[in-house]
């Protein structure tokens, strides 16, 4: 189970999703047993937890670690945790971190080497394989983001073995959104809030899909297996069949999340819009606000840029190559002998937005944006990518600086 390839898992999952079992009901308390079952089967379970005033992803051991009764209040440049008036376990939207924290980690040692008779030897870098992980609480937008990173890092000309090893065997437990933040726009990006039920939308298939219900029938989850091993895991805990009323309550919850979305990007002709507006005055407008702090690229679940650092120890006998997250917003990202190509803030912001919404389509066949809204929330000055697209379409409008 641990060693299966990612692609094989996908194909199995899709066919399983089509011939799926009926929906079932899992009591909220039973979720704790599900976590325990995952641990028993050898998974390192990661999920949302409250820390430092935010909901972040970390190792979880039981229901107690989940952010019960917490929600996130989000707006451009604003994030606060607030208490809910119920004990919902997944009653928040998305935090500053995404699953790339685990799949495409921020600091990785690629290899180490030592000098030997004027030449060098790469040292045996076979790290002990870590236990496969289980991600609990994956949103629809996040499934879409994982699929996008799969495309970039596994399905192009070269294959990133680090991402491949971490991605292979990951157990995904999706939780559908029953509320949206004002910063969400997954609906217009076609990535949510419902988790895709089949291959018509290219998201990463989940092993289990949960929807949290808190109606008169009690605090419970509608659950559906998205794969064979999802079904096997579900068999380890107590479930009861779901009624039509349960299914309707879940659908209504997801529909409510969709209807709450106030932001959107119109993706019709978005490539042409960005490619043909290289000199649009709006870029100067956003450049006057952007701090090039790179927060957006750090929180974005699809941004994948990294840099490579070669270091050696004091003796010069031992060298290592490290890979670290990088951002196109940095001064030196585009440096070639003599200077950087993109020195102005304008050029760097334009590069990020054009790549994310337009060039990505030419490169990888889909938009690079999943509409999670993190870049809007975590921008210190509240730059809103959806507003920037509107401004470009309107031709020369000068929005509020």
């Amino acid at each position: 189970m641990v060693a299966e390839s990612v692609l094989a898992t996908r194909e199995t999952s899709w066919s399983e999703a089509v011939a799926q079992e009926a929906d079932a009901i899992l009591a909220a308390s039973e979720l704790g047993n599900l976590i325990a079952a995952l641990v028993r089967k050898g998974y390192a379970v990661v999920g949302p937890t409250v820390r430092d005033g935010a909901i972040v992803y970390d190792q979880i051991e039981s229901l107690q670690d989940l952010p019960a009764g917490w929600t996130d209040e989000q707006a451009p440049g604003h994030y606060r945790l607030k208490r809910r008036d119920d004990q919902a376990l997944f009653g928040y939207v998305v935090g500053p971190q995404s699953w790339k924290k685990y799949l495409h980690p921020a600091d990785v040692r690629l290899w180490s080497a030592e000098r030997q008779d004027g030449t060098f030897r790469i040292l045996n870098n076979e790290a002990k394989p870590n236990a496969p992980r289980a991600f609990v609480g994956v949103r629809a937008c996040e499934l879409a983001a994982i699929a996008i990173q799969d495309r970039v890092l596994l399905e192009d000309r070269y294959h990133d073995p680090i991402y491949g090893a971490r991605r292979s065997g990951v157990f995904l437990i999706a939780v559908q959104c029953t509320q949206s933040a004002p910063t969400c726009f997954c609906r217009s990006m076609g990535t949510g809030p419902a988790v895709a039920n089949g291959p018509e939308r290219a998201t990463s298939p989940a092993d289990l899909i949960l929807t949290e219900l808190q109606g008169t029938r009690g605090h419970r989850f509608l659950v559906r297996a998205g794969s064979e091993r999802g079904a096997e895991m579900l068999a380890e805990v107590k479930t009861t069949p779901a009624s039509d009323a349960d299914i309707h309550e879940a659908q209504a919850g997801v529909a409510e999340a969709a209807s709450q979305q106030v932001r959107s990007i119109d993706n019709n002709g978005i490539k042409e819009l960005l490619y043909q507006n290289f000199e649009h005055p709006r870029w100067d407008n956003v450049a006057a606000r952007c701090l090039t702090c790179a927060n957006c690229t750090m929180v974005c679940p699809t941004c994948f840029c990294t840099t490579v650092e070669d270091v050696s120890d004091v003796t010069g006998e031992h060298a290592e190559r490290w890979r670290r997250w990088d951002s196109c917003f940095t001064q030196t990202f585009s440096y070639i002998h003599g200077g950087s190509v993109r020195t102005s803030t304008k050029a760097r912001y334009r590069q990020w937005m054009t790549h994310k919404l337009a060039a990505w389509i030419d490169q990888f066949g889909s938009s690079g944006c999943v509409g999670c809204g993190r870049c809007i929330t975590w921008c210190p000055v509240g730059i809103d990518i959806t507003e920037e697209v509107h401004a470009l379409r309107e031709g020369g409008s000068h929005g509020n600086p």
Partner: protein, 280 residues
């Protein structure tokens, strides 16, 4: 979609320095051969390798040797900073890490049966030298060869003896110019575009391959088009910051193109709308 390469793309192979020869005061050619005696010298003209100096760093360097020689790889490197200086000061027998070869090459197939125009500026002659070798090695497969080469000054000219030898080949014209002549230079003085009026070209049956500073390539491409070449028959070798060379780090993007895997060679038709964009 190409089949994914599954070996670890970030691991360098040790190659040993066979020779280091001086081309100009700041430019040297390294000859490398793989440590394990396997054929490690296969490449297509226009491709590059990532060369790693232990503990210093890694750089993209064009391969500038003969593609018919599969036993070793040649790199002409200009010393402009810490990493390039570390490369050119390697001793014979030292180990250098090599990854690659990477990138699309020059369009040798499209050039078969046609005249080949090579226009090089400065160190840009290094990635074009394999083209010249291949054309001369398979003379019957190509038409006329025209080499237009410009450098800053006479002592910056690369491969001077080879230039003279190439000029003596049949159906081959080699023109050389410098920006600054000094008093003992008896050849052309002026930018490389000034050589066009002396070149004997048949534009309709020509493929042009251009490499040099980006400004130079812009002017040369325009000059070639004004002489009647099609935009799909003029090729440029582009350059941007590179860290991984395998399409993951994102640094080398130029518009929607990854220079490491979609390039570095591109037809001018694709580059024209991008070249005029400042700070792209």
């Amino acid at each position: 979609m190409a089949t994914a390469v599954t070996t670890d793309p970030m691991l360098p192979r040790p190659y040993l320095v066979q020779a280091v020869s001086k081309e100009t005061p700041d430019t040297f050619t390294l000859k490398l051969a793989p440590e394990e005696k396997a054929n490690g010298g296969s490449f297509r003209p226009g491709q590059f390798s990532m060369l790693w100096v232990f503990g210093v760093g890694e750089l993209p360097i064009s391969i500038s040797g003969n593609p018919a020689d599969h036993k070793q790889l040649l790199y002409t490197v200009r010393s402009v900073g810490q990493a390039t200086n570390a490369l050119v000061t390697q001793r014979v027998g030292a180990g250098v890490g090599v990854r690659g070869p990477y990138g699309t090459g020059w369009p040798m197939d499209a050039a078969r049966g046609r005249d080949v125009i090579v226009v090089a500026g400065g160190i840009g002659l290094a990635p074009l030298r394999p083209v010249i070798y291949e054309v001369l090695h398979h003379r019957e497969d190509f038409g006329r060869l025209v080499v237009l080469y410009g450098a800053r000054s006479p002592h910056d000219l690369l491969y001077r003896q080879e230039l003279a030898a190439w000029a003596r080949q049949r159906e081959t014209q080699v023109l050389v110019t410098v920006d600054y002549g000094g008093m003992s230079w008896r050849g052309h003085v002026g930018v490389v575009t000034t050589l066009f009026k002396y070149a004997r070209l048949k534009p309709a049956q020509s493929v042009a391959m251009v490499c040099g500073p980006e400004i130079m390539m812009r002017f040369v491409a325009r000059e070639l088009i004004s002489h009647g070449l099609s935009r799909n028959d003029v090729y440029l070798s582009m350059e941007r910051n590179m860290k991984c060379a395998v399409g993951f780090c994102g640094h080398c993007q130029y518009g929607p193109h990854f220079i490491c895997k979609d390039g570095p060679v591109f037809p001018y038709e694709k580059m024209r709308p991008l070249l005029e964009k400042y700070e792209l």
